[in-house]
């Protein structure tokens, strides 16, 4: 009993310190803003209403309560409540202490922002839940305690046999459904089932963008473009194993092809979107080939450095004074025309989301087909051991060039759509950081597979966009998240698995014949 309480108090101290730290970096504001947004308030500002701070405090308490009973399944009901109560109380006391200090700062009007920039008076007031200092402190403590008790009740409830059985049934149920879907996608009526799947996904893709509002469409579009980029780089890095760092250069070539052919300045060509798109893809692929030819003998680090140089050269060329009359120089190119489809101009984010979804589907389709083919296996062999791949009869130079060209074509596609959507492109959008972003998204998501790339793009491009409101702590939170992610899942969020090949029954006699004729 004594040890249990001592342990609970120790957990409480840890969480108390975490709570204080969170307040000092204004993490509570961040969560409050998120909650405000979720509940439908359009512009919550930096410090939303007090009720969201109350919600944050309750959530914090809930977390404390759940964590207090972590790995304590064998205790009796009373001990569990006691243990979570003592943890909650410890955190509440520490939180109360902090609130007392904050109240003193508030009442005495001590100007502390020189040392801790977040502690503005408004923020302190909000942290005290918008009440008077004494009430606020007591309320904070009470809410944490209530939250902790509620959390422990949740854990206890979750550990009940009936609830556990429910989760288990739910698990098997989902597994069965997935199994049935998999069976259906292979079985007799697989075409029909695939069609049903496409219709469902298509339905979501068609109706969500019209409901979302332009900000989410912007974020979603950005993620989509990065999925295309990630798939392209995955062909180069994930499948054929060449570490290319200047990948964004191909994106720039696609974007500038679109821009130069479709902007009033500097050339006034106005070719229209579709021809420029095709030309952008072709030019990117060609530049991939051209880059590839001289670097075919390089491997590993050397290849990375040379391609990094290539990326920077492209960016500096676009920026240079010499080419200003041709590329628009450092100011970039404005007023790029959007596409026309069936006589209707693309004039909203929604149209572009559809276009990008189409691009993602095309890219995934091509990637998937290539991955499970002779070509894909040749790439994988090169990644595993280039010398042996060559001695096994794979023309390594041809296949490495092919990987570069196809990967670059993907980037060209994404770049062209990007330039057209933003109606602007400039050299600084294509800096090294963008290449690194694409590379890290495929590493975070899981090298060499489509779901991993999509998840990686959401994590790396979607999450910072969502967190954009909290400019100061965005990168801090994001960095911490990445570190945790790489520690807990070093192979990426969704690691690649190899496809299974089963012996087809009907071709068996065919093989016998072959065997007999072999060696003659």
């Amino acid at each position: 009993m004594k040890t249990t309480i001592r342990q609970s108090i120790r957990t409480g101290v840890t969480f108390g310190i975490v709570h204080i730290f969170f307040i000092l970096i204004a993490f509570n504001s961040m969560i409050a803003v998120m909650l405000a947004k979720i509940s439908g308030i359009k512009n919550p500002g930096e410090i939303p209403e007090a009720k969201f701070y109350i919600a944050y405090t309750l959530l914090m308490g809930l977390w404390v309560g759940i964590a207090a009973l972590n790995k304590k399944k064998s205790l009796s009901f009373g001990t569990k409540i006691l243990s979570s109560f003592s943890t909650g109380l410890t955190v509440a006391v520490l939180a109360g202490l902090l609130d007392v200090i904050l109240s003193v700062i508030l009442v005495k009007k001590v100007f502390i922002r020189d040392f801790l920039s977040v502690l503005s008076f408004d923020f302190i007031k909000a942290t005290l839940l918008g009440m008077t200092p004494v009430n606020g402190t007591l309320a904070t403590m009470a809410f944490i305690l209530i939250g902790a008790l509620a959390g422990s009740c949740l854990v206890i409830l979750n550990n009940l046999k009936a609830v556990q059985a429910f989760w288990k049934t739910l698990g098997t149920w989902t597994k069965n459904i997935i199994g049935k879907i998999q069976y259906a996608s292979r079985g007799k009526y697989h075409l029909i089932w695939q069609l049903v799947g496409i219709v469902i996904v298509g339905f979501i893709a068609v109706f969500l963008p019209t409901k979302w509002g332009s900000y989410w469409n912007y974020v979603f579009g950005m993620v989509g473009l990065y999925v295309i980029l990630g798939l392209g780089l995955n062909i180069i890095v994930g499948l054929s194993g060449q570490l290319v760092l200047g990948y964004i250069a191909f994106f720039a070539i696609g974007a500038y092809t679109m821009a130069l052919l479709n902007a009033p300045e500097p050339h006034h060509l106005l070719w229209g979107f579709w021809p420029a798109l095709v030309l952008g893809i072709i030019l990117s692929a060609l530049s991939g080939l051209l880059l590839g030819l001289p670097i075919m003998r390089l491997r590993g680090d050397y290849l990375a450095i040379v391609t990094l140089g290539f990326g920077e050269i492209i960016r500096i060329l676009l920026k240079s004074d010499v080419l200003t009359s041709f590329t628009g120089g450092p100011r970039g190119i404005q007023n790029i025309q959007g596409p026309m489809l069936f006589g209707r101009p693309f004039n909203s984010e929604v149209d572009f989301v559809y276009l990008i979804i189409a691009g993602v589907i095309l890219a995934s389709f091509v990637y998937n087909r290539l991955q499970q083919s002779r070509t894909g296996r040749a790439w994988l062999a090169i990644r595993e051991d280039e010398t042996v791949a060559r001695a096994t009869g794979v023309d390594t130079i041809k296949y490495k060039l092919l990987a570069l060209a196809i990967g670059a074509a993907f980037a060209g596609l994404a770049g062209a759509i990007y330039a057209s959507r933003n109606q602007f492109t400039g050299p600084d959008e294509h800096a090294l950081m963008a290449s690194i972003n694409v590379l890290s998204l495929i590493i975070v998501g899981g090298m060499g597979n489509i779901p991993g790339t999509i998840l990686g793009a959401f994590t790396l491009k979607g999450l910072p966009e969502i967190l954009r409101e909290f400019a100061n702590y965005r990168l801090l939170a994001f960095g911490a998240l990445l570190v945790v992610m790489m520690l807990s899942r070093p192979d990426g969020l969704i690691p690649s698995s190899r496809p299974k090949y089963e012996l087809p029954k009907e071709t068996a006699p065919d093989v016998e014949k072959k065997e007999a004729s072999h060696g003659k």
Binding site: V366, R369, L370, S373, R374, T375, G376, R377, A378, L380, A381, E384, D385, T387, V388, A389, R390, A391, T392, G393, V394, D395, T396, L402, I406, R498, K500, Y501, E502, L503, P504, T507, A508, D510, V511, K514, E515, H518, G519, K520
Partner: protein, 269 residues
């Protein structure tokens, strides 16, 4: 020789000041099992690398089915029908066993990337056939139940056999095996020996073998060449090699021949 499949003519390979292979001639007739033996560092693997195109020899030529191989890249040599395995196993270790064997079939297939994207008739047919082929070769080396296992996680002996299956799947006429029984226990060695023999008997593949295990070498070779310090010091049938004094000296040092004779006489009497 009329039916010789490969002729090595005066090949030398020099690394800096070291002559690893010095003016070696070999001639292997079709359907033979030909062993190359010699002490460590004698230049056996270097000679293999010269034949299979990994190294370009400084002097001499290698004729494969009458065509010179000098300067050709390893993928061309492979597609001509010359396949090899490695002294330290070099599988595509993150791919499955069947995928390794399917990569091995690469030079025989025609399907290209456009076929793959469109998944046209040629692509579908070749995919189906290459899976079936792959299973056939895995079956042959006794690995068909491991077809979908990651090859790097297979046991050591299985990895050796998988490497042979990969080499076989390009349907070679000449197979170079670099120490196929290294690190194996007697049972595995026995199985490997019968596997090598059946390669020749079933598929009529010519085999050149580097091997240290004398039981294996003497048991299955039709012809043996002995290398020492880069020079070929003897060539002949197993029985001849066993009696050759220079060979015994290369292995046992000067005076070794006399010692061996004494031992042999004692055994006989």
């Amino acid at each position: 020789m009329e039916n010789s499949i490969i002729q090595v003519q005066g090949v030398s390979k020099i690394f800096g000041g070291l002559t690893a292979v010095n003016n070696v001639d070999l001639e292997v007739s079709e359907g033979a099992i030909y062993s190359i033996i010699g002490p460590n560092g004698a230049g056996k693997t270097t000679l293999f690398n010269c034949i299979s195109g990994f190294y370009i020899p400084e002097h001499g030529t290698v004729l494969f089915k009458g065509q010179p191989l000098n300067g050709r890249s390893t993928d061309t040599i492979c597609s001509l029908g010359l396949s090899r395995t490695y002294q330290n196993i070099r599988l595509f270790s993150n791919l499955t066993a069947i995928e390794n064997v399917m990569v091995g079939q690469h030079p025989r297939l025609q399907e290209n990337w456009i076929d793959a994207i469109l998944r046209d008739r040629r692509c579908k047919r070749e995919e189906r056939e290459s899976v079936a082929e792959g299973y056939k070769w895995l079956e042959f080396v006794g690995l068909s139940e491991f077809a979908n296992a990651i090859s790097g996680s297979l046991p050591y002996g299985a990895q050796r056999r998988l490497e042979i299956a990969r080499a076989l799947s390009s349907k070679p006429v000449l197979l170079l095996l670099d120490e196929p029984t290294a690190g194996m226990n007697p049972q595995e060695t026995l199985e490997m020996t019968s596997l090598i023999r059946s390669l020749r008997d079933k598929f009529n593949i010519t085999i050149i073998l580097i091997e240290h295990d004398m039981h294996v070498v003497m048991g299955i070779s039709d012809q043996i060449a002995v290398l020492d310090f880069g020079n070929k010091i003897a060539e002949g049938k197993p029985a001849e090699i066993q009696k050759n004094e220079r060979v015994i000296e290369a292995y046992l040092g000067p005076g070794g021949a006399a010692l061996a004779n004494k031992y042999r006489r004692k055994k006989a009497s």
